[in-house]
Chain length 473, copies 2
């Protein structure tokens, strides 16, 4: 329909403040951190599926996350355009790409920019707010949604309202965007009716493009070139790396919103959280009478107001503490003061500086064909559990320093070994000598699981020579 | 020599207050918790190896721990008699067995009872104290070592001194044993010169036996019968289970020390800790400028006065906390207020009540032939890493519900499969079908390591039929 809103979901973030559950290799927006039924990315997508309000969504994400995005979209049964950023260039470049992508369909398309990692339970209220703000967008304003503050937060920017916007019921001109205040400043801002800036923007594509041209032409030039030379890769549109890399790294807030004269704000009052810290995650989860939110295998003794999140098979216990966050994963554990959980960002920087691989990589590594997970490591061996989704097919490959033993524990494997193809069934094994050319695939209807025992003088991931790969790696 | 002291080391405890590092399946006295060079049991044994003071030691331990005791003794190169308790019957029964065992060698033998889980760095001071107290023991007293208190502890019993003991330099008669006091009581006790009761007793065997006969004859009867019907089992003396089970469960403190008129105490001032809680472990470990004691892969941000102990490969992190204990193991994590770490005992009781296997069993299970460790578990499979010490030999066995794949990753395996014996070398695998009769041994000079992949409808430990076992299981 002509008055549909074009939702564009930005999900390029790495969510390091929710380490160790969220890491570069699987950022928070793709995990079931706050809702076991699905990720916040999936909830965001589902929030914009009502065709009476929204057009087909577009997702802008990091190239590395493309198979996760595709799989999670398939799980919720939603089709979307997927644009791949070769690298992170901050939000101005992403919004420029979004505006150009929408303008290609309709120069006056009304675009809604959304983050993939927010929690908004009341989807109808959100859709109603989008429709109300779209009125301003159609009239040529660049609208934001201003969240009604629930506490004097110091980790959000604020929006001071100006006069009411003529012809846009409930909306105001923006008097000023205010950067993250201190506690006193937050208190004063709330007293005068300022709103939280949650990063939701609605605008006509042509209006945003004109403002980008005026305020940050280099960003727009880079975005235009990146789209012009983009390549289609399976179902993805891969932005041109050389061109996109020319975009200055700047936020849309700084580049346009703080400078434009067209900024408007629609106050909204639905419950919202950016679940940006473990403290915020605790805030949106259900809690027991002692104020504890627990997930997984957890036992507590005299513990209160805490978040205890146990991933995997391990047992996590807490004795005699108040206001703590405990997050355990198969390879890393975080224990933090809840009030200081924002400092997890510093921690991750410290982990990177110390060279800990757990800073960015998860134990379970997702691949287009499924995933693998290291389960044991010795001096001259490594053991992995590998799952291949039905139809999945690894690259044709060989290793110089390790032999591999595969034992199928579920499903059926199709194994190509030096040109010969054979089926390996549950409770059967096959041996792949050093230097042999081999390939693993799942020809069946259920997931294939196998245990891989690697034996050799070196078992690093980089001892791999790929010769064919259906995923274009 | 005639005036040697017979050390008898009691190591039957389970150390649940140091869970999850210490568990029933591997109690704290056998772990390298406080000193990476060895266990407190080994340090205790080494403390009594000076032949000018001590005779060959005797160890009294749980039957389940016998191979750990034997291996740890071999590691430090000390020979000892090893008496196995079929079950725990508290300390009076153990002391009765100790006195009888020593009396069999020399009715007037001077016995020193020691716990296996204490930290005493100053071995010469300890030996000197034992020699000084032995003077009183030879004169017919039942002597204790009274530790000079360093704080008003409420988790130890105290000893109030009476008049000086005639003929025993530095020693006093015991006025009274006082049970664990409250904080105020502890303060008063220390002010009047009372000492900590650390459970060290020195006595002539005949004197203790007479006191046991007088105060708790049922304990002595049970101990006598248990030794009379004991069986030799490899290098162990296994007390008769039926007889030992008749011993009333009571402590030597309650049964004898609080009633006898022969109690004497020698004040000692060497540094001592029973490392009974994580707080106490923190107290004996080296600490950095922030007061933190760390072990393993650990990173801290603005954390102070804490113990962070990471076992295994995992990374453990703490942000913004003071006075906490964090202990991570491959299958269980404890986070506790340091001041309340004594409540870990309650936690373990809670874990048992909830049926968590981690309450008592470690991931790595020690066996007479080496150890095994589960590294992965699925619906119809389980993966283990198995290490067999040189010369080790598992029982001849079969399973009804699972087949097994063994991949040797280090050393050489001798595999017996339905009567046929073959050698399986590093990077070779062998398949053991369901129902096959098989046996694994390490005929080599280095440890044998293999990955076992079990596949079947049931992979529990109890699906095993043993037909031959060199360890008499």
């Amino acid at each position: 329909m002509a008055d549909q809103i074009y939702p564009i979901i930005l999900c390029g973030g790495s969510g390091t403040r929710l380490w160790p559950a969220s890491r570069e290799s699987m950022p928070k927006q793709f995990t079931a951190l706050v809702d076991a039924r699905g990720s916040t990315f999936q909830a965001t997508v589902e929030r914009v599926t009502d065709a009476s309000t929204f057009a087909r969504p577009t997702v802008i994400t990091a190239a590395d996350a493309r198979f996760i995005v595709a799989e999670q979209l398939a799980q919720v049964g939603v089709g979307a355009d997927i644009l791949l950023e070769p690298e992170r260039r901050d939000s101005a470049a992403a919004v420029a790409v979004a505006a150009l992508h929408a303008a290609a369909r309709d120069p006056q398309a009304v675009v809604l920019i959304l983050a993939a990692d927010h929690v908004i339970e009341d989807a109808p209220a959100f859709a109603a707010a989008a429709r109300a703000a779209a009125i301003g967008a159609r009239a040529g304003q660049i609208m934001t949604l201003g969240i009604a503050p629930t506490k004097p937060a110091t980790d959000y920017g604020y929006i001071r309202r100006g006069p009411a916007l003529e012809g846009v019921p409930g909306a105001y001109a923006v008097a000023r965007f205010v950067e993250k205040p201190n506690a006193e400043g937050a208190h004063d801002l709330i007293a005068e009716g300022a709103l939280w800036n949650a990063g939701y923007f609605l605008f006509r594509a042509d209006v945003m493009l004109a403002e980008l041209r005026r305020h940050v032409p280099a960003v727009l030039d880079a975005a235009e070139a990146a789209l012009e030379h983009a390549t289609r890769d399976l179902d993805f549109v891969r932005l041109d790396a050389a061109a996109f890399g020319q975009a200055p790294k700047t936020s849309i807030d700084y580049a346009v919103m703080e400078r434009t004269e067209l900024a408007g704000v629609l106050p909204v009052s639905f419950a919202w959280s950016d679940v940006g810290t473990w403290d915020a995650v605790w805030g949106v989860l259900g809690r027991d009478a002692q104020g504890n939110a627990v997930r997984g295998r957890v036992e507590l003794v005299e513990t209160t107001n805490s978040l205890v999140h146990s991933e995997g098979e391990g047992l996590t216990t807490v004795v005699g503490l108040d206001d703590v966050v405990v997050v355990t994963t198969p390879d890393a554990v975080l224990v933090a003061s809840k009030a200081r959980s924002g400092q997890v960002k510093e921690l991750v920087a410290q982990l990177r500086a110390a060279g800990h691989p757990e800073a960015d990589a998860h134990r379970r590594m997702y691949r287009p064909w499924g995933w693998y997970q290291r389960i044991d490591l010795g001096e001259r061996f490594q053991v992995k559990r590998i799952q291949v989704t039905p139809g999945g097919r690894l690259s044709l490959q060989k290793h110089f320093h390790r032999a591999e033993h595969w034992v199928v524990v579920r499903g059926t494997a199709e194994v190509t070994l030096d040109g010969a193809v054979s089926l390996v069934h549950e409770n059967e094994a096959i041996y792949l000598p050093i230097g042999s050319m081999h390939r693993l695939a799942n020809p069946g209807r259920i997931p294939l699981e196998l245990i891989e025992v690697q034996v050799g003088s070196y078992t690093g991931e980089d001892d791999i020579v790929r010769t064919e790969d259906i995923y274009g790696r």
